[in-house]
Amino acid sequence: MKLFSSQHDFQYPWASVTAANWVKYPNEVSTHVVAVDVLRREVDHTTGMLITERLITCEQPIPQWLRCFVGGQNRSYVREVSTVDPSARTLTMRSCNLTMSNLLKVYETCVYKPSESDPDNQTTFYQSAEITAYATFKRICDKIEDWSVERFDQNAKKGKIGFESVLKLLDEKLDIGNKFIDEVSGKTVGVIHDVSDKTVDVINEVSDKTVDVLHEVSDKTVVAISDVSVKTVGVLGHLTQGLVSISSGIFGRG
């Protein structure tokens, strides 16, 4: 699956850009790249190409919940093979994550070549990435789904129980009100107004409380639903971002 591709022009000649590529790290933007090592380097004498294999070490904090899947390591490694073709004036870098590669693999390809509009002074950078997720990754998604459904069910149950107890309380209060009405109905007209006022008070109070409770329950339900939904989206977003950034590590070389 193709994840994305992008293109960018640097206002520097191709030769300078490729030379800079070897001393790109450390820089203040890509602080997550903590080490760059050369694993192998050869010049192909028939083609004149320089091929270099590098190990790029990244350090980025991993979300706590993800640690159980990846064993708590903050370090991730990327292997990169680059090819400089001085006659065609291209630098091609292909890289793949070593860490968490059982979950997913991100193959990134970057190409630097002289720009078409100003080949002597500008360099065009093409970047594309391919991502492959494995079954294990899907199992994590299933886990998150299960967890979300479970959480929703718990909150919904709490909502129901809460509402029941409030309804019970109101019912008892209404009973008292009714008894009060029965009691006063046989008495003098003089006190009827008084009683009527009191009944109205009680009814109003009950009615207010019911509205309050309904609002509260409704709010809580909405909060519970959005809580679960936000968490699910958040977790999925985190997961995707986390995995992509951790596994690719040096994503966004531009």
């Binding site: 070897w22 001393v23 294999e53 001085p86 091609t92 193959y107």
Partner: protein
Amino acid sequence: MGNAMSQSVAPECTELKNKYDSCFNSWYTDKFLQGKSLQNECEGLWDDYRECLEAYLIKKGIKPMVDETAKDAPFEEKGELQSKEKK
């Protein structure tokens, strides 16, 4: 360019790496790109750095991960992904 040199993943190899990098960077700009040399002229420095790094990668279990990934994208194929029909 010209900023601080990058570290090696193995702290004990950083010095050797920086020596090799300096040599390589000059060779790259002054000779390779000029079409003056196809010969890696930093061989001695490379061997020292390489030996140090290799030991670390084996000790820390990083080497098997590199080898595993290299199967799908061999150095000989310029790191190009070979089989897309894995798993």
